[in-house]
Symmetry: C2
Subunit: 767 residues, 2 copies
């Protein structure tokens, strides 16, 4: 391995060195509002924990585990972790929370701690049987300790290139194994450093029975350990009955030792070997067979604590810090990891876990050398960046005592607020933050909201998601062999290209609807102004709309009131023909406009849009009312939230002036003032859900409209005189079919339920 740095330099592989694949697993206990372990079932809405690839339970029914799919970057892995975390929190019962510390909250007697119930079936029973076995062996309370597992592999091409250069005589199988073994030995040797920097639990509740003999300080029912970095990583934490010596020199020896432990009855299988680092092969997660045959594919770091200072249990910088420590383990490996070195490593680890706040000079220097060396080599390989620099500096500052450790901050909080109280406060705050932003898909907020909603629903359903082109909101979703490509949430394989084209052409849509006996506004289609002018007499007694065929957003549209002049008629036509070669003249229908979003032959949501408005309370000024309404987390500016801020700009002030009002005017209780004439959401309009309020006959008409053009997903705009009165031939008319309708408007309306259109699209797609 000595020539690795040289090889990377020679081959200019710096950029490939830092590539990799990341996967994060995280457990949390569910607790009630008082901090008691929740004894409820795993939430149904989170799917089947036996088969869900991302959301399941660990030992206990009350111990939620989220698993991110393999990601090509730390950012992506972190984003997926946060989204999975949010999905879990959003689907908890109102009075439940995720306990943010690795050490448990208030837990009942062992007999009352529920083992995860996976249902029936061979696989389920096997999982439950194993849990009963470890419950018996280690005690249930110990299994409630939670943490973060960090899975990492290098880019395969990087390994292959490196292999060709460094060890072309040896097999790639051996080379790859030796890479991951080298790193593992180093990580084991430096586990104290990870515990020092990332350790984040200094206390436990007395209900965590049989705490080991090292308790230092007792405060009422809580045990707080002064000077400790990580109770979980201490001798009292989650460990095997004894420190088994397992070789990390070669894969062969490693597996031989493990087999020996299993055959001697110490362990039931490899997954009972609670080593801080595990060697892994993705083909069979918990068995030796695949490892032996195909070699090590990735490593799993298991000693990272939940960090209650962050919402998700770990922050992005710490994911990078771990990555940097892995890189250092490759670039500056220790030469060996013999038995005495193993003993030393464990002693250091125990020392730091219990008393890391009083770090010895020796360890401090060792740590500082570690990071200084890393910084230099990254510089040398030209891969150093601002983030790496900052993170390394922060680690060194912590070693030098210039920056507080997580465990120090937590110690202070727990000391003053109490262990249970502090962590409850923290998790309640995080829950509100999650719920207020539940419309967004973290890390993808640059995508359209509709696409974010779809991705989040897909993740919740356990689909494999991939953002193929984020500028285009183009994604793919996969489950088993079933893959779908989707752009802008509703451009899917469900609609044929021809159907979309029909909807994009108003004149053709109208023609097809008419042939399908759907009520559309009366009128005609013109391709030259001469023929349109000839028909002046046909229209002059009515209110009409003149509109270009293909343009959108109201451009080029004129509405004329009855008895309009030839001149006005001509002006309207001129404007429309300026925007398109084909122009429609239509009778204007009175009533309210509703959007019916139809998905696979069903109305998924009905919505009305209302112009920006405020409602008086008898006390507040208009200015204040706007501010209050804008405090809704659904509102912001720039289309990243479901609704936009109300404004008091030129146009709004003009309207107020016409009403003899100013921003300082106080409105009477329940007095409504409209600040805009247009009802667009983009200018602060409200969206109001009417899905359960419209007469069934209109839904049938919307469905028939969609059917007429062969559309599986469409937004049907209908003018309705009175939604409570059943439809007749004349009291409702479809004015437009919209291909690629936005789904977020039905999910986060100003008033009304979340109609979960993302989920409906997924169901329509066969997921």
């Amino acid at each position: 391995m000595e020539n690795v740095i040289n090889a990377i330099k020679q081959l200019k592989l710096g950029n490939d060195l830092i590539k990799g694949s990341w996967g994060i697993e995280k457990e949390n206990l569910r607790v009630d509002e008082k901090g008691n372990l929740a004894l409820t079932k795993h939430p149904l809405k989170l799917g089947d924990k036996l088969t869900h690839p991302y959301i399941t339970t660990d030992f206990s029914e009350s111990q939620v585990e989220v698993i991110t799919p393999p990601s090509k970057s730390i950012d992506e892995a972190y984003n997926l972790l946060e989204n999975l975390h949010d999905i879990v929190v959003e689907n908890l019962p109102e009075n439940e929370y995720l306990w943010p510390s690795s050490m448990p909250a208030i837990i009942p007697d062992d007999s009352l701690i529920p083992i995860a119930d996976y249902g029936s079936g061979e696989e389920a029973l096997k999982k439950m049987k194993y849990r009963e076995y470890i419950a018996e062996k280690y005690g249930k309370h110990k299994q409630l300790i939670c943490g973060i597992h960090y899975n990492f592999s290098f880019d395969n091409d990087f390994i292959h290139t490196l292999h060709s250069y460094c060890a072309s005589n040896d097999s790639c199988y051996n080379f790859k194994n030796s890479i991951y073994l080298t790193i593992s030995r180093n990580l084991l040797k430096y586990q104290w450093l990870l515990t020092y920097l990332l350790g984040a639990n200094v206390a436990t509740h007395s209900s965590y029975r049989h705490c080991c003999e090292l308790e230092r300080h007792k405060k009422e029912e809580e045990f707080i350990f002064k000077g400790a970095c990580s109770y979980r990583n201490s001798l009292c934490g989650y460990r095997n009955k004894k420190d088994f010596r397992v070789s990390f020199d070669t894969l062969e020896e490693n597996l031989k030792d493990l087999k020996q432990l299993i055959s001697s009855g110490y362990l039931s299988g490899v997954n009972e070997y609670y080593s801080p680092v595990r060697l892994k092969n993705s083909k069979d997660n918990n068995s030796i067979v695949a490892l032996e045959r195909d070699g090590i594919e990735y490593i799993e770091l298991r000693m990272i604590d939940l960090n209650p200072l962050t919402k998700t249990g770990i922050n992005k910088d710490d994911l990078t810090l771990v990555h940097l420590i892995i890189l250092s383990s490759l670039l500056y490996p220790c030469s060996s990891y013999k038995e005495d070195e193993q003993v030393e490593a464990i002693l250091k680890q125990n020392e730091v876990s219990f008393n890391g706040h009083n770090l010895s000079n020796e360890l401090r220097d060792e740590g500082i050398i570690f990071f200084t060396r890393l910084q230099n080599v990254l510089q040398d390989l030209d891969v150093i960046n601002d983030d790496y620099n900052r993170i390394i500096k922060s680690a060194m500052a912590k070693l030098k005592g210039e920056e507080k450790l997580y465990s120090q901050i937590i110690y202070e909080k727990v000391k003053s607020h109490g262990y249970i109280n502090h962590h409850l406060e923290v998790t309640k705050k995080w829950k509100i933050e999650t719920l207020n932003n539940s419309f967004s898909f973290k890390g993808y907020q640059d995508l359209e909201l509709s696409t974010q909603i779809l991705l989040k629903e897909a993740l919740q359903k356990g689909l494999k998601i991939e953002v193929l082109d984020r500028y285009e909101n183009f994604i793919s979703l996969k489950k088993g062999d079933h893959k779908e490509f989707i752009k802008q949430a509703t451009k899917t394989s469900l609609d044929s290209y021809a159907t979309a084209l029909i909807m994009e052409n108003k004149a053709i849509t109208k023609k097809v609807l008419l042939e399908g006996n759907i009520s559309v506004p009366k009128g005609d289609i013109y391709t030259d102004i001469k023929n349109a002018l000839i028909d002046y007499n046909k229209y002059k007694d009515r209110k009409i709309v003149i509109k270009p065929n293909n343009t959108n957003f109201g451009i080029g549209i004129t509405i004329l009131n009855p008895n309009f002049s030839v001149d006005n008629f001509k002006q309207g036509l001129d404007l429309a023909f300026k925007n398109d070669r084909t122009v429609l003249i239509e009778h204007f229908h009175t009533g309210n406009e509703y959007r019916f979003t139809v998905i696979n032959g069903e109305v998924a949501g009905v919505l009305q849009r209302v112009p920006a408005n405020i409602k008086g309370d008898g006390i507040s000024t208009i200015e204040e009312l706007v501010k209050i309404k804008n405090s809704d987390p659904l509102r912001n500016k720039g289309y990243r939230t479901p609704l936009e801020f109300l404004r008091l700009d030129e146009e709004e002030l003009f309207i107020l002036k016409n009403l003899n009002l100013t921003p300082k005017s106080i409105l009477k209780k329940d007095e409504i003032v409209y600040l805009r004439e247009n009802s667009n959401i983009s200018t602060g309009g409200d969206s109001i859900d009417f899905t359960d309020d419209v007469d069934e006959s209109y839904k049938i008409e919307a469905i028939n409209g969609a059917k007429a053009v062969g559309a599986n997903i469409t937004g049907v705009d209908m003018i309705i005189e009175n939604i409570k009165a059943p439809r007749t031939k004349d009291n409702a008319t479809i004015i437009e079919l919209n291909f690629n309708p936005a789904i977020h408007i039905h999910c986060y309306p100003y008033r009304g339920k979340n109609r979960r259109l993302g989920r409906k699209v997924l169901t329509a797609l066969g997921f």
Copy 2:
């Protein structure tokens, strides 16, 4: 009816008056290159004559009949007529032609004239039985007389509006009947005028046995009638055994008279009543039942001769002339049409048919008054236009003897060239014209060629075609209840919107192809220039292509030869990133590029494009060679023909100069000079069909490529080293999948067969 003009004026219905629906039927005999009646079968390629709605046979197997679908304008009806005519001519055996005169060519003995063979089945046998009956009754030779039937109805809204104003006390059924009866009476009264203006046969061949006693002049084996306008409309033409008197006063009386004739055994049914005008109902073409129940829906004029001076048998102006005469019949109807008036009308008709060139002053004046009156009223109603004016003036000039009649021109031609000879010459000329322009769909030449080809194939297949938006090349095709919407020939319901989106994004296409194990150029995708520059070392030893993700037509693409500099690399990347946010770098593959157009899992055509070039003959200059090559009817400019003109502009001259050539240089025999570097068809490139020449393995790869993205219609661009050698993993690579591929390139290549992709698209669509 007196108040019709007034009503139209009051209601400003002028524009609606001239609306209507037109349908043209036309028969032609098939003859061989000597003018003998073809005794071959109706061409198989024209479909099943029993069920084809547009192309069938009349009495004889050798008598092709084309029937245009109802059209909303004369232009449309004429275009469809011309296209149907062209389709028939294109599918005739090489030595067969359509006989352009109403009177037959050289016909064999009655016993040898083949009655149309419709096959077996009830309907077929009924048709054949009726033909045997009339053959027996009138003689087969008489049934060979051909002509044009002109079907017309007014716009229904116009009739309804007129009814409300003029006769709201009476039923609309009665009002509509009275409108069409009025017109019929007038047309019968003025049939002489139509015969005078449109009559176009003055001769017959002696094989038309049993010519009646009125023969005037015999020249060898041909009978030429001096002074005659229309032998067909004369007493010797296509008439009933006697002139039955049938009332046109009311529908009731008309049908009573017809029923009387049938029950007395004079006629076998209404369709044996050879009146110049028939009252029709579309629900049952040849029976009284629907007429009695639903009234008259349209009228059929049956006295129009084939005009051999035109390719299609009638020109657009004459279709308009007949329409104007119908309008005049509505606006200035004669008050009655009693028995003596009927006798007078037939006498006039006979006189004009045989001796129209010597028109009496009385008839001349009557005709001039007819048109003067018409012109005035159209002016008054504000619907006169240049075409109407010109056509009316021409008719009056013919009445005044200032302009030659068709029959006069034909008389002169026949006199000097002979009846058979002249008409053969004419039809051979028309056939060449048809074949030279077979790529275009007449009247729709503003559409893309691919759409024209599809429309023409659809018409040939008997589909109902509709151009929904000609600017957008958006059409619909229908057969029975099956309707398809198609844009630009290959944007259809066969491909999902998602599939099209995949193909529109090069990076995603490549990703999906790779997942499907399809050979694509090696390389990577970049969303920022920094990451791309880092990979310089990966590429620098190879020939590479740098291209933006979404742009087309080669914009922003750079090709770099091995050992390119970082600077050149950066320039290429800058250019690509200027055109897109996503950029692909690919290894350049050597070989020729072929387009495989895949339709429904089959390769419909394989094509190579070659830069504009000329081949020497040892005599001609380059200038002359270009001129010769450009004389190909497939070449023109402006993308209305399958190929474009070669040019000798700046770029071509520059290339010649580099070869030490000028436009005046003479090339050696078989010396090839390329005038351009690019192979685009748009700059005079050649398209060369390779469908039968490539190894099957490439076709399978193309099909698999299409399958990988789920495409039913796609243009696969493949680079192949050697089309004769089977495919390996490395000797071919798919560089692009094109949604919406042009089909015309495979139908009219510079070299190779017409692969009939239009037909393949129709089959794929289920037609």
